[in-house]
């Protein structure tokens, strides 16, 4: 349902672009400004001189490389493990009839509703018992569980949209079920798999609260926690913080551009009464 463009809509569109985009613009502009321009009571909307000082300061700040490596480790661990586990579950939910399916769907959705902040205390105690506090493996384990419901649900959405007839035709032609999955289902699912994997990537890359609580050791922090370290009791280093924010945001923004469409389809799949 689309209609001809109208002046009202276009004006409000431009207005929305300015309002939504300004914080992002301001981050980028600040990150390239010299210190004197940043710490001014009359900041200018456009930078007069460009400098990379903030970037070199941010990158030279203690812990950047370590935080980056830690984040990469956490992200890869979370994505690989959760995708693997979730794909199995999604196939069962989307393609098979079994007793207790509604209960499984129900519990998957239910755990998604439990506030993370409510679980911090027992999770902390649990991971202490398993000797996984202050360990990246513990964080990966926690992230897997937290992205799992969404990943299962989204994969299910993609799977449901692939017609069952294709698989059945392959079975009739003499494929075994695993063969049918490998040659028919998985190739058709590839875009959905990529989109979901990137979603898990973004979640693990962006998560702050758990990492902040579970990783107190400076050598174990992830990128968002590293960002938090720019504010001390003496105040905040705004220029380097904005540069660091840009560095942290770039990978996710790029990945997000790829999957935006699939993600929305995954979320809304079957939600509109056709």
């Amino acid at each position: 349902m689309k209609s001809k463009s109208s002046i009202y809509s276009n004006i409000s569109g431009i207005f929305a672009i300015a309002l939504m985009g300004f914080p992002v613009y301001w981050m980028v502009v600040t990150s390239f400004k010299p210190k004197d321009d940043i710490l001014s009571t009359h900041p200018s909307f456009f930078p007069h001189t460009f400098t990379l000082d903030n970037y070199s300061q941010a990158l030279g700040k203690y812990g950047f490389t370590q935080a980056l490596l830690n984040s990469v480790y956490v992200v890869i661990g979370t994505v690989v493990i959760s995708m693997f586990i979730a794909l199995f579950a999604a196939i069962a939910v989307a393609r098979m009839k079994f007793k207790g399916k509604s209960i499984f769907i129900m519990s998957i959705l239910l755990v998604q509703m439990v506030p993370l902040s409510a679980l911090l205390i027992p999770l902390y105690i649990l991971l202490t018992k398993l000797h996984l506090v202050n360990s990246l493996a513990g964080v990966v384990l926690a992230y897997v569980a937290f992205v799992l419901p969404f990943v299962v649900w989204t994969l299910r959405g993609f799977l449901v949209n692939i017609p069952l007839d294709l698989e059945e035709a392959a079975l009739v032609d003499g494929c075994t079920k695993p063969q049918a999955y490998r040659h028919i289902l998985f190739p058709l699912m590839a875009p959905g798999l990529v989109a979901t994997a990137i979603f898990a990537f973004i979640q693990a890359w962006n998560e702050y609260l758990l990492a902040y609580i579970l990783l107190s050791d400076q050598s174990k922090i992830t990128m968002p926690v590293w960002l938090g370290s720019f504010t001390t009791r003496q105040g905040t280093d705004w220029g380097p913080l904005m540069a660091a924010s840009c560095i942290t945001a770039v990978p996710v923004v790029i990945f997000f551009l790829f999957i935006q469409k699939q993600l929305v389809q995954g979320v809304t799949a079957g939600a509109v009464k056709g």
Binding site: S9, T41, I121, V253, T268, V272, K273
Partner: protein, 302 residues
């Protein structure tokens, strides 16, 4: 049930094998902590108990203490009000934007979508950092712009007053949530068949009637999902308040999540913190139930 019994009833073990790893992960990382949380909430679990390694059962004391504390009710109400305002603004603005997007020039719509995607992708802490910078005490671009418009305002601590403080924090939350809401509604709108609307218009329906009788009923499920999800997310906001206020929020900024955290990690009263967490889950149950019902309907209707 033994495997033989399963075979006899011709139930394949496959689905159970396939969901087993997921169930295992969920039970270990979410199931166990939920049980532990319940368990803790009936105990006194402070520093002495941590050292001893076990809590002391106190029955319902943590709950009755919280429920008879007027602070608790103030914080609960504050959290509801904060949540309601953010969800109201995001849904209304999101829906309006989505409808306007249908009538935008292609170039503008694509630009807007690109901005939305960028904001959507921003890591939470990046978003919070930017907003803190926008409203910083000394060098705020907002303060200086307001001043240059002729209003005599000096450097301003926006967080002194809780109304303006919560408005900024809420603004940051809504800014981050709008892309998801708007794009979801827009995607759903584009799926409404054009013929249906044309037919209605031919029959003389006004634009409002088309909205009321065709678009709204078709989009109803997606609104339910978006509203319940937003309520659930916004109710448990923690990082925004925590980071905006330098990890030392004043008591008048406490919401349920901060309150529970403060009781446990700040006061080392883990039992009381657990009880507050459970009350927080209960406070959300209505919305959770509504959302679940809708999602299970979608999950079964394939």
């Amino acid at each position: 049930m033994s495997i033989a019994a399963v075979r006899r009833r011709k139930i394949s073990p496959w689905p159970y094998l396939l969901i087993f790893p997921s169930i295992l992960a969920l039970i270990l990382i979410l199931g166990y902590p939920i049980v532990k949380l319940l368990n803790l909430s009936f105990q006194k679990y402070g520093l002495t108990q941590i050292i001893a390694g076990r809590g002391v059962g106190v029955g319902l004391k943590n709950f009755t203490d919280s429920l008879s504390d007027s602070n608790f009710w103030t914080i609960l109400l504050r959290t509801y009000a904060f949540t309601f305002c953010i969800v109201f603004v995001t849904i209304i603005v999101g829906a309006a934007m989505a409808h306007l997007m249908l009538r935008m020039h292609n170039v503008i719509r694509i630009l807007l979508t690109a901005i939305f995607v960028m904001v959507w992708a921003m890591p939470q802490l990046v978003g919070i950092s930017i907003w803190r910078w926008l409203f910083s005490f000394n060098f705020s671009i907002i303060t200086s712009t307001v001043r240059s418009l002729g209003f005599p305002i000096a450097n301003h601590n926006y967080f002194q007053n809780i109304i303006s403080g919560f408005t900024i924090i809420g603004g940051c939350v809504a800014w981050g949530a709008l892309p998801f809401v708007t794009i979801s509604i827009y995607a759903a709108l584009t799926q409404v068949p054009k013929e249906l609307i044309e037919a209605a218009e031919l029959d003389g329906a006004t634009r409002f009637q088309v909205f009321k009788n065709i678009i709204f009923p078709m989009l109803f499920p997606i609104y339910i999902i978006l509203i319940s999800l937003s309520v659930i997310w916004d109710f448990q906001i923690f990082s925004h308040i925590w980071v905006f206020l330098d990890a030392r929020p004043a008591p008048q900024y406490f919401t349920m999540a901060i309150y529970a955290f403060e009781q446990s990690f700040g006061q080392s009263e883990y039992g009381k913190g657990a009880a507050i967490s459970i009350l927080m889950i209960i406070a959300l149950l209505g919305f959770t139930g509504y959302y679940l019902k809708q999602m299970v309907k979608i999950g079964d209707g394939q």
